[in-house]
């Protein structure tokens, strides 16, 4: 009984400390963009302009974010800004979802798809809301809201009802995911390979203790992953893949921790063990290609 009480007490202290830690951090507002659902290859502007129900649903979702004190990036404003950029004018025909999201700088984007439903027992509207992490493409929250069946052609009101049924749940789920991200960090994928025309392999002993290159790299990842959390998918002579490496959301000083902060540190470490690197970053994927010898300054 005494040990049970002790365990209970420790758990309470631990959970209070954990909550306090999360609550004491400064809140950084993510940038959010609400976009209409667009089919593969379809321009976002077309999807937005052609669907009145989507436009109303998007406005209702933006309103809900406003009520929580979060500003959203306006899609049309962003499209205009993109078109005004002369460097991008050649690609105007390709205002696809991926391009707009990556150019917008949004942390989170919410895809809205609203459909009207007609039936003999009344009309209704279904709204599908999906929130994605723009960094990793990971789906963070998914909700489907249905309006009640009503004998009316006032679809504006039905859309409002459909959005209202689930928007708070979407925001709450997003906030829960944010808390998990703060506590556990973001996942990135790190692939390290060796240049094809080099004698270097990941099995090469690189120090006097006889440590292999793959071992020292893994040790570095272990020491630098957020809370030491990583997973090594596999190692061969030429390649090692870390399918999960956690990185923090904030730096110790409270500013945003960027993926570049992590890759820069890894590059410097590899350089310190006399390896030159080429790196490619796409979304949350980082690929390092190693060859022997430091690059010239």
């Amino acid at each position: 009984m005494r040990s049970f009480l002790r365990l209970l007490f420790t758990y309470s202290i631990f959970s209070i400390t954990l909550t306090a830690q999360v609550n004491n951090r400064p809140v950084v507002q993510p940038t959010i963009m609400v976009v209409p659902f667009a089919k593969e290859g379809e321009r976002l502007r077309t999807a937005y302009e052609n669907s009145e129900v989507n436009r109303i649903a998007i406005t209702k979702v933006k309103e809900a974010f406003d009520k929580r004190g979060v500003n959203t990036i306006d899609l049309i404003g962003k499209l205009k800004q993109t078109n005004n950029n002369t460097a991008l004018q050649q690609e105007q025909a390709n205002e696809t979802m991926d391009q707009v999201v990556s150019l917008s700088g949004a942390d989170i984007y919410v895809v809205v798809e609203a459909t009207r439903k007609y039936s003999p027992t009344g009309n209704s509207v279904t709204v599908i809301l999906t929130a994605y992490d723009a960094f990793s493409g990971e789906s963070l929250a998914n909700k489907v809201g249905n309006s009640p069946l009503i004998y009316t052609d006032n679809f504006d009101k039905l859309i409002e009802k459909a959005v209202e049924t689930e928007i708070d749940n979407l925001l709450n789920t997003l906030q829960e995911k944010f808390t998990i991200l703060l506590n556990e960090g973001r996942s990135i994928v790190v692939t390290i390979g060796v240049e094809s025309n080099t004698v270097l392999t990941l099995e090469k002993e690189i120090n006097d203790s006889g440590d292999l290159l793959s071992e020292v790299i893994e040790d570095w990842i272990k020491a630098n992953a957020f809370k030491g959390n990583y997973h090594l998918q596999g190692v061969t002579r030429n390649k090692m893949i870390f399918d999960i490496v956690k990185i923090p959301i904030h730096t110790p000083s409270g500013t945003n921790y960027r993926l570049r902060d992590f890759t820069s540190e890894l590059r410097k470490y590899l350089r310190s063990i006399n390896l030159s690197t080429r790196q490619t970053v796409q979304g949350n994927n980082v690929v390092f290609t190693l060859s022997e010898g430091k690059e010239k300054e």
Binding site: S12, S15, I16, L18, T19, V22, N23, N24, R25, V27, V28, Q29, P30, K67, R68, G69, V70, D107, E164, T165, E166, I167, D168, N169, L171, N172, T173, L174, Q175, E176, F178, T179, L181, L182, I249, H250
Partner: protein
């Protein structure tokens, strides 16, 4: 003299009775049901019991509030608990659960009440202003503002 002593005794017994009624232990139950949601106001029904009638209303309202805070209301626009990682024992919530809660209740009506040997039972329809409640919890740093 004897009269004074009796009077004092009666007053003491009354005070003790009132105090015990006031401190009657509240225990949350899951007997809440979503009725409707209008804007940021959620309306739910909450069933509870108490030894005295004046405590009964408080128990029903507190039950509604605690379910919103710590459990979430099934089939509603508030299915997740508003507070993660804390419970009614959290000292930061004592003021809210004892007295401040009344600020967030926009409507409260008893629709059914019965009495058994020891307890009064009631079903209360309670409307809660979620936006104001969330703001209160954010200001008290019980929950984080929306964001990372």
């Amino acid at each position: 003299m004897r009269g004074i002593v009796i009077c004092i005794l009666v007053l003491l017994i009354q005070a003790f009775d009132d105090a015990s009624a006031q401190t009657e232990k509240f225990q949350r139950n899951g007997l809440v049901e979503f009725i409707r949601s209008e804007g940021q106001v959620i309306t739910i029904s909450s069933k509870h019991y108490a030894k005295t009638k004046n405590i009964l209303k408080y128990h029903c309202e507190r039950n509604a509030l605690e379910n919103i805070l710590f459990r979430g209301i099934p089939n509603s626009n508030q299915t997740s608990p508003m507070i993660e990682g804390a419970n009614e024992l959290d000292a930061r919530l004592a003021e809210l659960l004892e007295s401040d809660y009344i600020q967030f209740i926009t409507n409260s009506q008893c629709v059914e009440s019965t009495k058994s040997k020891k307890f009064y039972y009631a079903t209360q329809i309670v409307s809660v202003d979620l936006q104001a409640l969330r703001k209160y919890l954010e200001d008290k740093k019980v929950i984080r503002k929306f964001g990372l």
